[in-house]
Symmetry: C2
Subunit: 436 residues, 2 copies
């Protein structure tokens, strides 16, 4: 049955004025109509009315880069140099990583993401078929792929098996309504030029995205320069990999020339400001990228280096950083970071029918209730969502026309079970790190 | 009746290991005992047991700098140059500021602060007697004073009346259990040397703090240099105002020499990282200040330039900034920013019995429930509170031995009424800015 969703204000896209007293008609997986509530009520008398009360209805967020299952490592070790963290904690435990850990970690992550208004996430990790299982069961939307690298993987073993797994997933899920398989070579320092080329060929064959960590730290840039005589972007350029198919995570350490190159080649960027700060990587030149015409969305990165999956916080940090470091409070205004978290993120994934509210678009929607002291008073919906709202303020989420969160309750799976399972997994993880 | 508070973990202070399965005995306004739950239960069989379940119990936060009532301007105008914001929005409306606006704005702010675990806040604004009324009614703790400046104030009229009001408040509330009156000259660019000296004399006479905005922006430093031939810190030094009585808000634009001077004179600093970013002021040299031995606490600044009153977020931003900008993830670890938000903040106010949990300390406590996806799993309580928790996660707050928030409900006042009143006030504020 068609649903007529009513809110105090509907944000349709950052480029249109918010609709006060607006409503959205959802039929099947799509938005059928948009307008004043009373008018739509007359046009669609049969529709079930869902009134969200004193609230803002907005397009669901796109988390453009994460490793969702790493919820199991959230807070395991912080405030450490990157290599100590990876080599003494993450890598030793990942050697013992189990399929079920990835599954339960992803489910817990999805609970957290839904509660922060994320309807689509991009995932790269190990045992991705387990993340796929979590996505299918929970009703969220995702673009994901198995992390590929030259050394043997706890997930698939030797690289050839990883490429075979990726091909198999690309074939199996070619027509899935909520899943897009992407090809995920981990980074230029973990993948040889041959590996990168094989991954790119696969992405081209299946007309999908190539997703890679790039230019995250100064050390990485120095290493790639020493190894290949070029910075990471120019290394990829030489390999013919810089194009509209490439989605780059981080892009912190970029020269002006590299920004221009990204713009010319149509490379897309997932900006992860909080992870970049927490790991001591630096601050990506977001405004320069946007001004050059590069499509930049927002990602949380994994919850072990953030330590949450909250795109409200990411919008806020992205905007605040650009203002504070440039001494210019007009930089990266609320509407622009909101656009990065919605429309830009969707477009970076090639999802042209996502990231805004309009007739014909897919019904991926989220609702923030304003009935809270920190969301009072109401002057401007973008300001409230970007500068005052936070994960957990979202009461309702719809993905492809189906409610997955309704009135603060997740409908599609048992969130408490996911919590209990991850608490058990954490006991084993802690035991492994103590041994190490 | 004595209360025995039980939590999964009790954080007593950042310098002691957290107490697993710990409990706190509260008698009157103080903590009487601390230890293992079973042991305290035997020692105090008469005490009422309050079990917070799967939770962290910790010392309440000290918000070391805010203008609480500015909740009424939250989101009114953002992403603007500071002077446009002040001159086109804040100042014109403040000309029409009414006593009740300050009262209701403060009450709404207190609701938000309690829900973010803040038990003490420092306030400087107009019509402070209204903030005092809100503090008395709501049961929170505060150090506050009327904002003083040379031009006529909408609050008190000419400066002499502001000084007289301050003296009157100092006399009236000298023995209040939860209120400390401080003297608040607004800034060096709004107060003449004579005004500053009068304010300082008053603070000395009543043995209280002098609180001032200082070295917030590069423009301010340039202006004071042009006007007095010295930077703001050296201007105050010349006036004899740099001492242990001085609590400085912001301290963003400091030279190494000024940091040393602050350390030598025992000046205290309220670090407000989010406001400093949002207004394009920059990033304060927090690590350098701490290393020099300066007492630095955390403040949210007013909710119109933040746009929230959440010290969890402030801890996180403070830590992330120092790591990201120094390329060093070990900087300002979770325990240290937690200390800034609790013990250091309390000590900066001269509250030696606050900011930690120990027998004899005042019972200002907060509880975060861990039963949420973003707070799962549990490896380290400091990491969870600093990097994953957020305002709104606090379920219970006690100030001076009395519950003010219990099981997610504010006990001492009608939070919804405060929201309704501020929504009405916002209508008038909006009308005033439209006229302007």
């Amino acid at each position: 049955m068609a649903k007529l969703l009513k809110a105090r204000v509907v944000i349709t896209s950052p480029n249109n004025p918010p609709l006060s007293g607006g409503a959205v008609l959802v039929e099947g997986e799509r938005i059928e109509a948009l307008g004043a509530f009373e008018e739509l009520k007359q046009r669609f008398p049969e529709a079930e009315i869902v009134d969200f009360g004193e609230s803002i209805l907005f397009p669901g967020f796109v988390n453009l880069h994460t490793h969702a299952s790493m919820t199991i490592f959230r807070g395991l070790a912080d405030d450490l140099p990157l290599m100590t963290w990876l080599e003494n904690y993450i890598f030793p435990v990942e050697q013992h990583l189990r399929r079920e850990w990835v599954y339960w970690g992803a489910k817990l992550a999805i609970a957290e993401m839904l509660r922060s208004g994320i309807t689509t996430f991009v995932d790269m990790y190990l045992f991705e078929p387990e993340v796929i299982r979590a996505v299918e069961e929970t009703g969220v939307r995702a673009a994901l792929g198995e992390g590929l690298f030259d050394f043997p993987s706890p997930g698939y073993g030797p690289l050839e098996k990883g490429l075979a797994l990726t091909r198999e997933l690309l074939e199996s899920y070619a027509t899935h309504p909520r899943l897009k398989i992407i090809v995920c070579p981990h980074a230029t320092y973990t993948c040889s030029p041959e590996t990168l080329k094989k991954a790119a060929a696969l992405a081209e064959e299946f007309n999908t995205l190539l997703h890679i960590h790039l230019s995250e730290t100064r050390d990485e840039v120095a290493l790639i320069k020493a190894r290949y005589g070029e910075t990471p972007p120019f290394h990829l350029e030489k390999l013919g990999l810089l194009n509209e198919r490439l989605l780059v995570a981080h892009a912190v350490q970029l020269t002006d020339e590299e920004i221009e190159l990204f713009a010319r080649r149509g490379v897309r960027v997932a900006h992860c400001p909080e992870s970049n700060l927490k790991l001591g990587s630096g601050v990506a030149p977001v405004v320069a990228l946007l001004e050059a015409g590069v499509l930049v969305g927002l990602g949380t990165d994994g919850p072990a280096s953030n330590n949450d999956l909250d795109l409200f916080g990411e919008m806020r940090t992205a905007a605040f950083l650009q203002k504070g470091l440039s001494f210019d409070p007009t930089r990266l205004p609320a509407e622009k970071v909101f656009e990065m978290a919605t429309t830009f993120g969707a477009r970076a994934l090639g999802f042209e029918e996502l990231g805004f509210i309009a007739p014909g678009a897919r019904a991926d929607l989220a609702v923030v209730s304003l009935a809270a002291p920190h969301l009072t008073p109401f002057y401007d919906p973008f300001s409230l969502l970007v500068y005052s709202a936070r994960g957990g303020d979202v009461t309702d989420v719809m993905v492809g026309g189906e409610f997955v969160l309704r009135g603060g309750k997740i409908l599609t799976f048992d969130e408490e079970e996911a919590r209990r399972q991850v608490i058990e997994i954490a006991r084993e993880v802690r035991a492994l790190t103590k041994k190490g």
